[in-house]
């Protein structure tokens, strides 16, 4: 009797799981099986079952293509820019906020700097375009009024990486402080008391008490960042790409879209996507292993 009611209960639980399970199977695992078209000459009318198998032809073509090195360089440079110029900023900003004693001021600044995280990339791109355009944008008008030449930031290959990195800094630095502030909130105030007793200055307190409290968080986030090194932010780059800056702006993700859906080379672009996914997976796994070796918990 007891067993029957238990099975009934369990049945209902599995029934509740069903819609979600269906979602994961249809929209996550079916596309994973779909990557086999990277090894076919996929024809929409023949479908996966009847398209001819071609082995590694598309991968071969991709690695031989001069585009490959362009994409590799563009993706890598944007990732390095992000790591060098964006990554340290939330840490610095969180440390600065942590030093603020006036609670109201701290809340006020926090409230403001979290806002851009919730703004869509289209709006961010729109703001960038309207501010930087040579036709009445505030930056170029300011340059002109100073007697300098106008700069076509939006079409220039020289400014593209700076633009992308600056957008990321403006949008995500504030939000990035949250995780560090949470770690800093756990610091025992007695440590500061003790440091002051020993005559430590504010800088020394910052360096010897505050900073060690977030060191593990920094290492963890750095490792996470390495794991998603090739994820350059598709929407952001896609929106800033144009005929003027394509040579420095095209990355693996945007290339998949332009070759795959705009030029209908489904198999070739899937091969490009598979290459990127596999490299990313290897990066994530090795980053996680690295985290564990450093005595951290690891991410998964």
């Amino acid at each position: 009797m007891r067993l029957v009611s238990d099975m009934k209960r369990e049945k209902l639980l599995y029934l509740m799981l069903l819609p979600g399970l269906l979602f994961f199977v249809l929209f996550k695992y079916l596309p994973m099986l779909g990557v086999v078209i990277a090894f076919q000459d996929y024809q929409p009318f023949a479908g996966i079952l009847h398209s001819p198998w071609v082995g590694l032809k598309h991968f071969h073509r991709f690695f031989m293509d001069p585009d490959f090195w362009m994409l590799f360089k563009n993706t890598l440079l944007l990732a390095v820019y992000n790591l060098l110029f964006f990554f340290p900023l939330p840490i610095i900003l969180a440390l600065m906020l942590n030093e603020v004693r006036k609670h109201f001021f701290k809340r006020f600044v926090q409230t403001i700097i979290y806002i851009p995280h919730f703004i869509s990339w289209v709006v961010v791109a729109g703001l960038t375009y309207t501010m930087l355009t040579t036709e009445g944008g505030i930056v170029n008008e300011a340059l002109a009024s100073l007697g300098a030449d106008k700069v076509n930031f939006l079409l220039s290959t020289d400014w593209f990486r700076t633009l992308i990195t600056s957008q990321a800094i403006w949008k995500e630095t504030g939000w990035g402080t949250i995780i560090f502030l949470a770690a800093l909130a756990g610091v025992d105030q007695q440590l500061y008391e003790a440091a002051r007793m020993d005559g430590a200055s504010r800088w020394q307190q910052l360096w010897s008490v505050t900073f060690p409290a977030i060191r593990t968080t920094i290492v963890l986030l750095l490792i996470l960042r390495l794991g998603s090194f090739l994820d350059t932010g598709f929407e952001q780059i896609f929106l800033m790409l144009n005929s003027g800056n394509r040579d420095v702006g095209e990355v693996f993700d945007t290339y998949v879209y332009t070759t795959g859906l705009q030029n209908a080379q489904f198999s070739y672009s899937t091969a490009v996507g598979v290459f990127k996914s596999v490299v990313s997976l290897i990066l994530v796994i090795s980053a996680n292993g690295l985290a564990k070796r450093f005595g951290e918990e690891g991410v998964y």
């Binding site: 509740m16 600044v109 709006v123 729109g126 703001l127 598709f234 929106l239 795959g260 489904f266």
Partner: protein, 290 residues
Amino acid sequence: MRERTLGSKVFDTANHIVLLIVGIVTVLPFLYVISGSLVSSEELLTKKIVLFPTHISWDAYRYIFATKVIYSSLLNSIFITVVGTLINLLLTTLMAYPLAKRTLRGRNKLMLLIVFTMLFNGGMIPTYLVVKSMGLLDTYWSLWLPSAISAFNLILLRNFFQQLPESLEESAKIDGCNELGILYKIVVPLSLPAMATFALFYAVYYWNSYFTAVLYINKSNLWPIQVWLQQIVLLSAGGFTDANALSEVVVPPESIKYAVIVVAAIPVLLLYPFLQKHFAKGVLLGSVKG
């Protein structure tokens, strides 16, 4: 009382000034587009840079709301956001609840399957082909179904359900409630702050989503506001001016662009105080690990 040395005072002052500058840099672009959308054409002609218009003109907003395109795409965005958020909340909750049961057989294997989707995915083209073969193109189902559950949110909600006291559920069970009843009558009411947070985050996701619409929806009358924003501001498409627009007022094209940006951003800014209330409480952060 703690005594403050001169060095400490200088440190504090410099820190406050830099933080203030960071805050100003953050709001400046918003200020720029808002004032740009409210400036009158006369003032724009005489002055090149206007950060605080002396005379506020609502012509740009009157103009864009008179065009059918902006008006209907705003309605599209609201519809996509409301229905999408409800679908996501329903599916995420229904799945998180059984997964929170430690006695459920196969639970760990299921969790592994879910976590794996965060590490590896089929990518854009195979997903597009699945959506296409299901006949979802040019319907809003193509926006809702492929993103119906965020694996990350699912795990957070499951962790949240797990820390609820089991004794409450036991008592409901004795009262003859089945699992669905327990979820609806006990677990969900107890989790309202967490559910509100997920609702807000899903809503922001749907309101902001742009590329899925570009990918899956070709009919321009179904486009959300974000796609029109890209058309008007980035591609300078003039096609949205139609016969309904007020022809007697002269509105600078720049002001129209600014107004469209403001309109596309404003709902999120209105939701923001609620969002902030919840994430400030640490509902999300506290459960990140676990």
